[in-house]
């Protein structure tokens, strides 16, 4: 009897191993998917949304499933613009509340990712404090010292703690003089208004949403003190200036052209003793003769 039992046990052992192993794999998969959803949320959603931290450009997503059902959320996530264009009343309401900003379709979103994101929003909404409650920067009043420090960070005079590139590399802003700032990214004079103030701007700086900034700042994130200083500087810029006129490139190219002509003159002087068509006649004659042979 015992022998039979042992035999049966041995017979079903591989099945048990498979079952337990399979469950573990499924468990691992779920954990992996949850991590992927978090990472996706951080990269694509966090610059405009919090879960339980109040609205930024977009609404606070805490309890989103209580406001709209899963299938609506999924359709919206997969193509917000199409949803808006289809005349959906709730999508229009969201646009109005976001002062006209329309949510772009997130890079890499698929029906499966949308489901995972909705699961994530649901799970995080139940927590007392979600890790996506947004960046908590100091609420203290911003001072002239903050503005000056922000200006230094923008220009690169004050190096970033984690060695990120300074803002001037890619952005311009009113009032920096010289040849202005970089032109790869947008002018930041009005960015404080565009991102709807202190909280929105600070959250963006903590987790930039554009692929280029994400790649550059993921390994070199900004410190909260640096973010506060930059917010102060951008606030001051938005209040005092208008966006820099695009004269920078003109001055820059004029300098380049004058310099290039100058170098050509130097070449001419340096090689003033060069042979000047000393053999031109010879070559012409030889060529003619050869061609007529």
């Amino acid at each position: 009897m015992i022998a039979v039992s042992r035999r049966s046990f041995l017979a079903i052992l591989p099945i048990w191993i498979l079952l337990i192993g399979g469950q573990e794999i499924r468990g691992d998969e779920r954990a992996l998917q949850a991590e992927q959803a978090k990472s996706f949320f951080r990269q694509n959603c966090m610059s405009c949304h919090t879960i339980g931290g109040g609205r930024l450009t977009g609404p606070d997503l805490k309890g989103a499933l209580e406001r709209k059902d899963r299938s609506w959320l999924k359709r919206f996530l997969l193509d917000p613009v199409a949803m808006l264009e289809s005349g959906d009343a709730y999508a229009a309401k969201l646009k109005k509340e976001s002062r006209g900003a329309v949510m772009p379709r997130a890079a890499g979103i698929t029906p499966q990712v949308a489901d995972l994101l909705i699961d994530l929003i649901e799970a995080e909404s139940e927590l007392e404090k979600s890790e996506f409650a947004g960046l908590q920067i100091s609420e203290r009043p911003l001072t002239a010292i903050d503005v000056e420090r922000g200006r230094e960070i923008f220009l690169g005079l004050h190096s970033l703690e984690r060695q990120g590139a300074s803002c001037i590399s890619c952005h311009s802003i009113n009032g920096i003089g010289g040849l202005g700032g970089g032109l790869l990214g947008p002018d930041l004079t009005k960015v404080y208004d565009r991102l709807q103030g202190r909280k929105g701007l600070a959250t963006w700086l903590a987790a930039p949403a554009t692929p280029t900034m994400q790649s550059i700042f993921k390994p070199h994130p900004l410190e909260s003190g640096e973010i506060l200083a930059l917010v102060a500087y951008f606030k001051e810029a938005a209040e005092t200036g208008s966006e820099a006129p695009p004269s920078g490139p003109l001055h820059f190219i004029l300098l380049g052209l004058v310099g290039a002509v100058g170098v050509l003159v130097i070449f001419d002087v340096l090689w003033r003793t060069r042979f000047r068509s000393v053999r031109a006649r010879l070559v012409a004659d030889q060529g003619e003769r050869a061609l007529h042979r």
Partner: protein, 234 residues
């Protein structure tokens, strides 16, 4: 539509660089083994040397400085960013780079005009030369365009292109650095890969001849040392 553009980016920025480098290495080695004596830029100075000066001199000095700048930005990005941390130094570097970029473009345009207008030079120009000139025009014109309209490239190259190239070298391409770049920047990168792939089939192989005297020797004057007429002009 979106997936298609992502696939295109994957091909252009994560696969094409490896394809180009493979062609570059295999074909340069093959050409050196099979046709060593074709490792030359085939001087045409003896056919015409007035316009030649205003082509080759600005082109070569311009391109050498610009290439060296790209290599430095890739090798020591932190130092470059540190240099650029004072706006005046950034402006000096950018204006200097633009001057040399313009010199190389002016030189290239002169080279092409000379090749087109001087009949003896034109008949000595191969299809490979014409294709190469076309590619170089795209490369240099897009580079100057980027320098002017998407400044300050010396800084953002160090912050984004350098880690992108390192990711390629480590065989884990991170195209996040480049997928959202403006079209001119993408064109500049892709065109560079195309030139690398086409390199072994062109006169550019003269860059690889070692010991490489081109960098420091005096300009070589090619002369006929005989009264005998050439059999035919090719």
């Amino acid at each position: 539509m979106f997936e298609a553009s992502l696939n295109m980016d994957l091909f252009l920025f994560a696969i094409l660089p490896y394809l180009s480098m493979s062609i570059f290495f295999l074909m340069t080695i093959h050409r050196y083994r099979a046709q060593s004596f074709t490792y030359s830029s085939l001087s045409s100075q003896f056919l015409e040397n007035k316009a030649h000066f205003w082509g080759t001199v600005p082109f070569h000095y311009g391109i050498l400085v610009i290439l060296a700048g790209h290599v430095l930005g890739f090798l020591i990005p932190r130092h470059l960013l540190a240099w650029n941390s004072r706006p005046l130094r950034l402006y000096v570097l950018e204006v200097s780079a633009l001057i040399f970029g313009l010199l190389s473009l002016i030189g290239l345009v002169n080279i092409i005009i000379r090749r087109v207008t001087r009949s003896k030079v034109r008949i000595n120009t191969t299809p490979s030369d014409w294709i190469l000139y076309g590619m170089l025009v795209i490369q240099l014109a897009s580079g100057v365009y980027i320098a002017v309209f998407y400044g300050w490239g010396s800084s953002w190259f160090a912050a984004s292109a350098s880690p992108y190239i390192w990711s390629l070298i480590k065989f884990s391409p991170d195209i996040g650095y480049v997928v959202a770049m403006p079209a001119a920047v993408k064109l500049h990168i892709v065109s560079a890969y195309m030139i690398i792939a086409f390199f072994p089939f062109t006169r550019l192989v003269h860059i690889l001849v070692t010991p490489n005297p081109y960098l420091w020797r005096k300009p070589q004057v090619v002369r006929w040392n005989s009264n005998r007429a050439p059999r035919r002009i090719r």
